[in-house]
Each structure stands twice: as structure tokens, then as C-alpha cells.
Symmetry: D2
Subunit: 360 residues, 4 copies
């Protein structure tokens, strides 16, 4: 269980990092959307930006195939299977991990839960699982594009202690993609790239914060009570590996304001009811209000480092471990398209829900 996301636009990912492949089934995708493999491929390729080229040696070709649900370039309304074969298996890299628990990885907990684990790579806990999410995200954006003008853009806000100077209202996707670390502040981008190179050399890893915007989301998406839009976004983002925190709008900093400072007064702009400020982050009472949705996600430094660490073996002996092989010192640039995909999944699902009750 737990491998399906969404109620109407339902996404089920499957696949281990080693084995036949990884992918996703999308059930509930409306019919008559145009889609081809190249569009999905292009988005999957975004998972390997410039900075990663420096940092990660793994060559994932990740050729996606559509195995069902699309006919003559259009969605049929039936389940869409997207499949990416695993090509780069090197089990010998992992042989040493058969009986050891890597610190802050999921090795120990998978075994506690299931009594078995695929020690050849991270299994389902591998970042490779997110291939399916990114692929499904392309379809989710199609759903949004058909019904509204919503635009989703994420970027790296900070790495380690280095915080970029960014005005969310002005960020353009092109500026994000120009940066090898996906940070639209050029100076911060350069410094972040340096930080990452340095960490790579040290065999260490870095965390940071990704900010995600959704502009022009129609008012009325999200459900009162448990399926609040921010609650579903929080779940979506916290389901991405290595995440430790979530903020919407004013977030933790907002706890230090008074109500009179925090409330967003309503006003009229271009004939529409708008808020004068946006500390709410585009969502009030769990429902979008038409302002830009602004969320931040904290990523811890990745657990895989090239330094020697203490751990224990399956039979409880204390030992040391230093993983061989690849090591990506900072996953944040790669995480940006995953964050965007998860935001798209949440919004597409809530859009369809709203259509069910209001018909739009």
C-alpha cells in the first residue's frame, strides 16, 4: 500500500532501483489530451541538470515508453502506463550492503517493516522511484492546462547556509533553467555551484530549501477539513525522499507576527476580489483564493556520503561503512522537477474534484 497518490487523478508508482524497471500507472486521466513520449522524456531529462553533470557519474538514459492509455497521440481515458527500463545495474557496488544498515537510509526500517529488503540499491527508497512521479506530472500539467492558466515553477531558495535573494512574484522559469543549480538569483547560483563542488570533493553532502509557486490557480480548489489544499501539498512534498519540513505562505516566520500584522486584507484589483498581501500563501481555510500559492520544502543533506561512518550490521555488530560508487553531494537541483510534479498532481486532482461538484 501507499504507492498511490490522488483520489481522481490517481498515480501509482512501482519499481525498484534495480530490477526490470520503474514507472507509473495513471488512472483517472481525462481523455482527449494530446501527449507523446518526447514531452515526457524532456521532463525526465530535467532531472539531470548541468550541476549534476559535474557531480553525479551515473548515466541514466531513462528512456520512457508509453505502454497503454494513449491512442493516435491522445489519451483514451484509460490507465496510462509509463515505463522506464533499468539499464545501469551494478549489483557489485552494493554487495557490501547486504548485511549493513547505512546511516539515515531506509535499510533498517524497510527490514523492520517487511522482514526483507532489496539491498541492491535503495529499492523503493531510491530517488529512482521519482521517475514515475515526474512522468505523471507531465500529464497532470496537461489536465491543468486544459482547464486553467495555472503555472507551476519551483527553484532552489537556499543551499546550506546560503540563501538566495528572490522575489517570488518575479521569478521566471527561464531564469531558473539557466542556472545549473536551478536558482534564479545569478550570484547565489554561482556560489551554490561552488559550495556543491567543494562538498563533492570533501565526500560530504548539502541540504537546502526549494520554493514552489503555483500562479493563477483558480479560486475554489481544495477541500475543507482533512483534504485542505495545503494539507495535500504538505503530504505530497513530504513524500519526496530527504524532505524534513514544509511551509505555506508565512510559514514558521509567520508565527512571530500578530494577527493584525498577519491578516491579508481584501481589496479590489482589476475588478476582482484580491488580497492586498499574501501571507496566506494563496490558500485560506484549505481552499485556493486565486493568489499565488507559495510553499517551501526543506531537504536534509543526502544520507549518501563518501566518508567513513559508524553503523551496525544486521546481526548487531558495530562496524564502519564507506559506500563505494556514485555520490551526489546535493540533490536540490534534481529535486526541483519532482517538487513541480507533486504540485501538479495535487492541483490536477483537486481541479477534477471541483469539476465533479461544480462542473466548471
Amino acid at each position: 500500500m501507499g504507492n498511490t497518490f490522488g483520489r481522481l487523478f490517481r498515480v501509482t508508482t512501482w519499481g525498484e532501483s534495480h530490477g526490470g524497471g520503474v514507472g507509473v500507472v495513471v488512472d483517472g486521466c481525462p481523455p482527449l489530451l494530446t501527449i507523446d513520449e518526447r514531452e515526457i522524456q524532456a521532463e525526465l531529462d530535467r532531472r539531470r541538470p548541468g550541476a549534476s553533470r559535474l557531480a553525479s557519474q551515473r548515466k541514466e538514459r531513462d528512456r520512457v515508453r508509453i505502454l497503454s492509455g494513449v491512442f493516435e497521440g491522445k489519451t483514451l481515458g484509460t490507465p496510462i502506463l509509463l515505463f522506464v527500463a533499468n539499464e545501469d545495474a551494478r549489483p557489485e557496488d552494493y554487495e557490501a550492503l547486504r548485511d549493513l544498515y547505512r546511516p539515515s537510509h531506509a535499510d533498517f526500517t524497510y527490514e523492520a517493516k517487511f522482514g526483507i529488503r532489496d539491498w541492491q540499491g535503495g529499492g523503493r527508497a531510491s530517488a529512482r522511484e521519482t521517475v514515475g512521479r515526474v512522468a505523471a506530472g507531465v500529464l497532470a500539467r496537461k489536465v491543468l492546462a486544459k482547464e486553467c492558466e495555472a503555472e507551476i515553477v519551483a527553484y532552489v531558495r537556499s543551499i546550506h547556509a546560503l540563501e538566495a535573494a528572490i522575489d517570488p512574484e518575479r521569478v521566471r522559469i527561464a531564469d531558473v533553467e539557466k542556472s545549473p543549480v536551478r536558482c534564479p538569483d545569478p550570484e547565489a547560483s554561482r556560489k551554490m555551484a561552488d559550495l556543491i563542488r567543494k562538498a563533492k570533493k570533501e565526500g560530504d553532502s548539502l541540504g537546502g530549501v526549494v520554493e514552489c509557486l503555483a500562479r493563477k490557480v483558480p479560486a475554489g480548489l481544495g477541500e475543507p477539513v482533512f483534504d485542505k489544499l495545503e494539507a495535500d501539498l504538505a503530504k505530497a512534498f513530504l513524500s519526496i525522499p530527504a524532505t524534513k519540513g514544509f511551509e505555506i505562505g508565512s510559514g514558521f516566520a509567520g508565527t512571530r507576527l500578530k494577527g493584525s500584522e498577519h491578516n491579508d486584507p481584501f481589496t479590489m484589483r482589476e475588478g476582482r476580489i484580491r488580497t492586498a498581501t499574501n501571507r496566506s500563501g494563496g490558500i485560506q481555510g484549505g481552499i485556493s483564493n486565486g493568489e499565488t500559492i507559495v510553499a517551501r520544502i526543506a531537504f536534509k543533506p543526502t544520507a549518501t556520503i563518501a566518508k567513513m561512518q559508524e553503523t551496525v550490521s544486521r546481526d548487531g555488530k558495530i562496524t564502519r561503512i564507506r559506500p563505494r560508487g556514485r555520490h551526489d553531494p546535493c540533490v536540490l537541483p534534481r529535486a526541483v522537477p519532482i517538487v513541480e510534479a507533486m504540485a501538479a498532481l495535487v492541483l490536477a486532482d483537486h481541479l477534477l474534484r471541483q469539476k465533479a461538484i461544480r462542473g466548471r
Copy 2:
């Protein structure tokens, strides 16, 4: 939709702040648990702690009744309906709100979504909706108690800029309950009470951070991928009104550590595999590892204040508003049992899921 939480231990709340009443249906509660109305009542009463007495004039008697699913003091395995009648309706307090949108409330968004709203109070967006959650939480704790030693305790970590000095490993429930603001640091507790009294006088409101611990949770709860334990906790907590952020373990601060500083080395303690540190916050790869689960939730200052504010009316005229009636300047002490209830719902649900596949 959106009024049900959980997959196996399924909780559906219902009811507006005005109207017949509020309550909850719990479906999937295992049979043979002992329960009576007084236990649930005691927990509901915790929603009105000492500090609130100073602050809130509303007299909610909130007498809970069990209308189904319990027979001779034991759960039957059938749906349990818990019901609290609404007694304190004062629609005249709200008459002025019929055509106005209160800033940072859900008035505008409900209307955008549904084309209609119950303007007599907050409707479903009212804190009164959480009565059902707290009531269901009592049953969730029974489920946990039957199967494990898990202990859930939440408390106020900060109010406005005032942060308490608290060692999560040493917090005792009794220390929390002794404090009128539910802060186990006595000195911070006094200062917080002063802050709240001052805000009350000013007609303003305060936010803050609630920390929630779950100790002795068995390793193995939580599902890989979308239903990670931290993802479900994030959703649960962000579904509480007025929340703006969530952290697990090291949270946002952890993004400023390096991997070599952040990883939790495994070690042996009392014959069991443990982690030497707990920056993971008790969850790795989405699954509990047996360490204490530590989460923090950001609450914005509540939107209801007694000051004059700018807003617009339904027909788009700019106007001003100053709500009459009650005004709770700081909901954090009242939020503590709600946070605990949501944690219990998540853990009970995942415990039953784990029983389904492993049988425990």
C-alpha cells in the same frame, strides 16, 4: 469530500459551528476496546485549558454522546458515532458577516468553491469542527494502547517570539498539563501567559509553534513512497485550522548541516539496534525506526481579532470590519489536544495497516 481521514481507522467529521451539532463517525475501529463517554468527555474538556478561561468567554459545554458502535462498554467493530449538540448559537453576532469576507478567514474561499456559505460562524472552518477529531483521537489511542506502549505528548514550544527551553526526551505530560498555556518550561509558561493577556487587551492575536512527540512507537510503521509516516503526519497537522508549517526531526534547521553532521549513526543500546542521535526525528525512509518521533507545527496568529480591518463585501465594495463577540487571542494551548489527536489517528491507522500485512 475531504471529510474523512485514514484508510483503515477511518474518521469522518461532520457539523457546522451552528446548526444541530458536530461530531464524528469512526469506521474501522477494532472491536472489544473498552470505552465510555466520560473518557471522551475528559479529552474534550482539555480543549478548554486554564489560559483560555481568561481569554475566551464562550461557554461550550460540549457534552459528548456515543450514539452507536459501543455495547455494554465495549466497541463492537461497527461505526461509532460521537455527537456533541450545539447549544450556544448566537446568530445575531454573525448577522453583520452575511455579506462581508473576514480577512484571512475562509469566508471568501468557501463561497468561491461552493457558491454558498454558512455565514453564522465559521461553518466547517470553525475550530468547533475539531471536536470530532479530539473525540476520535481517544479511540485511536485505545487502538495504540492495545498493541504497543506508544505515548503521545504535545506542548507549546513558542508563542510569538518567545521560545521555551525544552528537552524533548524529558518532557512529562504532567508538566504540560500543569501549565495554563501547556508549556512545560515554567518560566516561559508565565511569560507566555502574560503575552496572551496583553494581546487580549490589545484585541490582537498571537501564533506560535506546537511540538509533538510520539515515544515508543514500534519500528516498521509507515509506508514507502506516498504514505510515508512523516507525509501522513504533515497532512494531518496541516489539516488543523491556522497551521502554516511542519517539521520532522531536524526540520528547516537541518538544511544547514552537512551530511556527515546530519546522519544518525546506528549503534547498539540495551541489546537493540538504535541510532546514536535522532536528527531523523524517529522516521527513516517514511517508516518509524523506534526512536522518538519529533514534529513541530507552526500556527499563525488567529485571524479573528478585535481590531478594525479593511475588507470587501460580496458585491465588491471596499469596507471595514470589526467582528463582535468572542475573541481567543492565542489558540495554541487549545490546539495541543488536537495535535495529539491527529498524531494518534495517523499512528493508529498505520498500526492497523502493518497488522494487515505482518500480523504483529
Copy 3:
């Protein structure tokens, strides 16, 4: 679990035959539908038709109350709680059943499942549980009425060996309601009433077949594969107590035709594509085709009879039992509105699903 029906129009019934009451929460009902308690009451009253007056002494006043989700006569889009208090508890009627399993009742299986049972009446297995279904069905019909012309009508097709002569295309609701046994064939109706009176005298019970039509259902409702419209109808009807069989269109008799005799040729009628015959029963490939949906449901003779029967006690001693108290020799007339309600729940749910993907 198992007390919720529907995916978008979600109905959760609760309540035992004895205890505080019975009812239903409807989540996912669209906003802005007009509804009042009298409409629901009228439908609940249909559960006690003329024939039952002869047959059943139980006086259920069944006064329904709307406790949430409706404001100024309109649905809010929030959960609607419908509540009927239990008024007529006579536990002494049931005292003898505390340690005995009534033949073909659910006493034994509930205890096998839950390890406990509410022996004061049938608990959840009581026909009283269906009060919530019938109440929710009124809302489901409102959903249908807003979007299409669909008309649902059910009636008694046979009782025991006595089969009525009925042309489904010509049955009118008025003809059904005129008959005290809800059989629109006047002669059969008279004979059925005689049969029931005789069975009553004998202390025995009778089964039969209810036929349910849904006319003018728009083409396109139902989902390929598992949630086929006929599959969801089958589940809905087989969830009604005492049902043993289901047919759609040609049903079991259709197995004796050849393909060339059974296929429904397409033709044009009034400018629309129609089928010349309707052996498909209005559904092809799991999806409505615009023709009348025709289903039949088999009800066994009810298990409650006034005759002495063999059984065993909880501790395995063979003994005899003759239930005291009320005894309804034929539930079919009372089952008609329940069948209609379940059909309405299925159709309303699929209508909302279709709106989600096509927008209608």
C-alpha cells in the same frame, strides 16, 4: 470498515437497531441543492407501505433530522448528517437471544468476526440500518435531477412462485404505489397480498424478486473494468440484507440464447443512435448506453419466522428457538424504496465521476 459506499458521493451509515439511533453521513454532495426534512421523511415513510401495516406491528416513527450540511434549505457542499433516533427499544424481546444463534441470521458470523455482538436486535444486520440508505437516496436523486432526466422505479416482480405480468417499458410509479405490495400488476398484487397474509398466519416468511428500472440515464456513465455500472449495481443490491441474486438485462435466461439472438442491433430512433432491443439492460461494456437499465434482485424468505427451529448455543449445545415479538413475513414491499435508493447512490456517484473527467 465497509460502512461507506461511493467514491465521490460518499455515504456512510451508522447505528444499531438498538442504542441511540441510526443515520447516515453524506460526504461529497454538491452544494446548492434544495432539501428539507419533509422530503426525506416522506421517503422514509415509504418503508412502511400498506401491506406491512397488516403484517408488522412495530411502530417506527423514524423522525429524521438534518443535523449538518444544510443551511437555509440548501446543501452547503459539506457533510450532511441525517439522524433518526431509536424509540422503540424492547430489549426483553431479545434477552433469550443473548446466547443463541438464530438460524440464517448474522448472530454467529458477527461473533466469529468481531468476538462480540449486540444481541439486542440485529445490530448492524438489522433492516433498520437501511434507514440511512433511504435517506441518502433522496439526496442522490436530487443530484441526478439537477443534471439529467433519469427516473428510477422499482417494484415487486414475484413473490414465492407467483410472478407478475409486467412490461418494464410501461410501468408507472403511480401504479406501483397504488399496490399495497408494490406490484404494478393489479391481479398479481391481490394474490401476493393473500400469500403474505397466509404466510403471516403460518408464522412463515416469503421471498421474491424486485425489478429495478432506471430510465433516461445519459449514455456514458460507468467505468470500464472494475467499476462497471452493472458491477457497482450488483454490489449495491447485494449489500441489501436478504439478497441472494442479481441480474442485468437478459440475466440468467440470456445464457440460453445464441449470440445472434442476444445481440442488440444498433438503429436510429428520433435522430439518436439507439438499440433495437435491450437484452443488454441499458449497459454495454460497463457503461450506460442510454437505454433503460433493467435489473432484478432476488430476496430470500426472511430468516425471522415464528416457528420452532433447531440451533446451537454459544457454548455449542444443541437447542431449539422460536423468536418472540414482531415478524414481517415478506420484506419485499419494504425493500422497494431501498432498492431505489441504492440505484440512485450508484448513478449519482457515476454521474459525478463523469462530470470530473468530461465536465458535462
Copy 4:
């Protein structure tokens, strides 16, 4: 939507009859079950019994591959993807169907629903979709086998007007598999084979009834109210293409008995509480009682025949149609393993549910 079955043991099939392939994702399968591709292949091969060899020219090699969720021969507890490539595409057979609706097929309704259809074969409505069900059924049986002695066996009870003489309590799987039409009554089997050969020659098709038994199912499976075991079986079976009816236990014939004749008296047998008769068909109040579950499913004659038929084209012109290519005059022998698979899916799901609340 609608492509997922089950709540805990969740099966999602995908794939059209033409395109990349067909398959299934199984989420919620417990870990540590041994499984290999050959076991699944063997069951898929059962979809092509002896009689079909005479009847169907299509050569489906249907080589199944496990692409995820299994490691070193054991289930991991993660999603299991089973994949069968489509090899035998002959789109030219279907070219003529691009603009025509085949009578009693799903061509018209798919187009009414989705506004598009894959006219190269039946798309999702093809029997080929059931490959995924049968493959998943192998895993479901593993789940059952681990926890109980349950044995599922289905067979052909009647074809056209020819009914076999079968005592459900004595049917052995070996006797079913010996028969080329999967009818354990040797004489009926011979006559059925003749009937099928004759229909083949005539270009016509035949329907019939499949009976499905589940023996030694533990008492206590199934949920009161909506998810009654018989309701879930009815849905499962009616989701199989070409089904028109369902019976449990006494079924429609039972409506002609009186309560005193129909009730199953309890008795003691081998120290256990049993029923003396089994008109309930192994289920009472929606919950298994430990007796043999007996269900019957009506299959209409398949819509594909080699005779000329009347129909209309997409643009409403009346025309005639005679499909080219393959034609299976009687799908019942092939349907038997599908029926068994669906029964296994239902029982495995309910077994896991029961484990969640009772722990077994």
C-alpha cells in the same frame, strides 16, 4: 478511474488489446511470499484450454514478466508489476471498425463516455484485460495459502440449455481440468464440446453459467453493510466481461422457498458449530460462516459472431457488419480461471482486512 480493485490487496490492471502490452500492478501484497514467473505463466496458460484450441486461432504467447516487487524469489511488500507484451497486433483486421459500432460491444459506449476509442480491437473492453487479473490472482492465492486452507475451484455448470449434473461438495479440480470445456461432469462435457463446435461452424456464440466454490474459508471474512462478502463477490464477478447475473447460495431459486424451508439450522459437527444445510452459500449477514461458499455467474453468448448484423456508423447511417478474423464461440472455459482469480482477489483482500482488526 475504475481500474483498481480491492482495499488492502489492491490490483490495478492496465493495457489495451493493441499497443505496448497489458498487465497489472499489485499494491499491498504482503512481503516474504515465494513467487516466480513460471507459476504465473502456468495460470495464464490456463486461459487457453483444450476446447479453445479447436475454437480460437489467435496465438497469444502471453509471456509474463515480473518487473518489480520481487527479489530473490520473494515478494518485497512493494508494488509488483506483471507485464505481458502484445505480440499479435493485426490492425488491418480492425480497420473496418473505425467508424462502426459492433452490436452489444462497448464501441458505442466508450465513445459516449470518453469521446474517443481505440478501435483496434476492444481496447480495455477486450478479454485481454483479464490477463492482469489472472496474474494477480496467483498472488492472491499465495496470500490465502499463507493464512488458511481456503481452496477455490470454478467450473462450467451449463452451456446454452445444457446443464451438467454436479455435486459441489464433490467436485475436484483435477476433474475440471481433465475436461476440455472445464465441466467436471464427463457426459455433459462431451455434449458441451459438441455444442461449441457446432456454434463455431454456424458462426454463432453460446453463453452459460460458471459455478465457483470457495471451501474452507475461515469464518469471519466480509464486512457488515456495504462490503458484505457476497456484495464484493458480485461486484468482482460482474466486472468480468460478458457477465449478466450472479447468485450466492440458493440464489433466484431460493426465492421460491419459505423461510422455514430456507433457513440453515445450526448444528454441531466435529466439535465445531456448523450449519446442517447450506442454502446461505457460506455467507450470512455478509460474513463467511465457514461453510463452502457457492456462487454462480451468468455469461451471455459473446457479442463477437461471424454472422451479418445490422448496426449504425458513427455518423448515424444504418449499415451492416460482419467482423473478420477470430471468433471464439464460447468463452466459458476460458472464463473459469478468471472467475477463480476474482474470487481469490476478494478473499485475499478480506483476509487482510480481518487481520488488521483481529490480528489472526
